[in-house]
Symmetry: C2
Subunit: 194 residues, 2 copies
């Protein structure tokens, strides 16, 4: 059992069969020691591809801190795609539309063309995988830049939702630190494997 | 000259007397080695207060990666305030309105009441200081929680804008890694001191 799984069991709060609150250590208050350990564990999880990965790509905001420590572990730069307004990125951007099931609407993500190049072999990092829309949007940005998406590293995968299937259909090598098979307030979290 | 000042001279792009682009290493593409060095340099900058600081507070999105490495250097947790919609934080939040001169409108920031407590001695971290509105909003969140704001650590201060004066009037101990006295596309960046 890795650091994140242990921490979910200790401090994660299962609100219902669909919602796991991790805001005390992962996506609002952030335990940077845990994130540092997760960076090493992502490096281990993608050890067969670590020599080719030259960039980490995530999406603001809750992916940023995790991706920063993954980038440190891989010793490569990190890029975060911007959501919605992105005047300060300039106009020379790749964009994709991402539908959020949580918010019930579509938002645009963007990344400056300068930071995705044909030579890049990119690992996408995000905090949660549910429906996979954010990862598919990031894949589109990578493809628009002519780069290669090496894989998607997810902190917490909700395996009972359609994300994994959608990413597999898109040919994405998906690996997660914590794969949640099922959960409920009564019985807690049940982990599976990649 | 610290790591950030050196990097601004090397890779920062002065668009006009007001706009410095640092998106190749700080707030879009992120050089995590630089951020790691900045974390140590912030620890040095606040060395007289390092024993009392027990939490780092920033605001999404571009403050997060910097604050994460500052939190690592201080060996304390990091909290990032959310902007605009924040359903996933719950309703039990402190909020403040922040006026953005760049965007010409006011947005709301919020932090869960769970993560600001009376015992907390908080260092605020942000990437840029121009008009000081974001830092003043974060100060309001801290005060609503009955905590103490120990200071504000800014990566890049535009000393020719009113932020410093406003924060001083609010009694904030402001220290920046890179204090820009003036800049222009022709002459580049001229640094001052805290």
């Amino acid at each position: 059992m890795n650091s994140l799984e242990q921490r979910i069991l200790k401090d994660g709060i299962v609100l219902d069969s669909d919602i796991l609150k991790v805001d005390s250590f992962l996506n609002h208050q952030v335990d940077v020691k845990l994130l540092k350990a997760m960076g090493s564990e992502f490096l281990e999880l993608f050890s067969d591809k670590k020599d080719e990965i030259n960039k980490i790509l995530t999406i603001e905001a809750s992916g940023i801190a995790i991706a920063a420590f993954v980038a440190e572990a891989f010793n490569v730069p990190m890029v975060f795609a911007k959501k919605g307004e992105h005047k300060n990125v300039g106009n020379d951007v790749y964009t994709a539309d991402v539908y959020s099931f949580t918010k019930g609407r579509t938002y645009e993500i963007a990344v400056s063309k300068k930071y995705i190049n044909k030579v890049d072999k990119i690992l996408v990092i995000d905090d949660f995988l549910a429906n996979g829309q954010a990862v598919l949007g990031l894949k589109s940005l990578i493809e628009q830049g002519g780069a290669e998406m090496v894989g998607a590293g997810i902190a917490i995968e909700k395996a009972f939702q359609p994300g994994r299937q959608k990413l597999k259909e898109a040919g994405i090598d998906l690996r997660a630190l914590a794969v949640i098979e099922s959960m409920s307030p009564e019985t807690g979290v049940k982990f599976g494997t990649n």
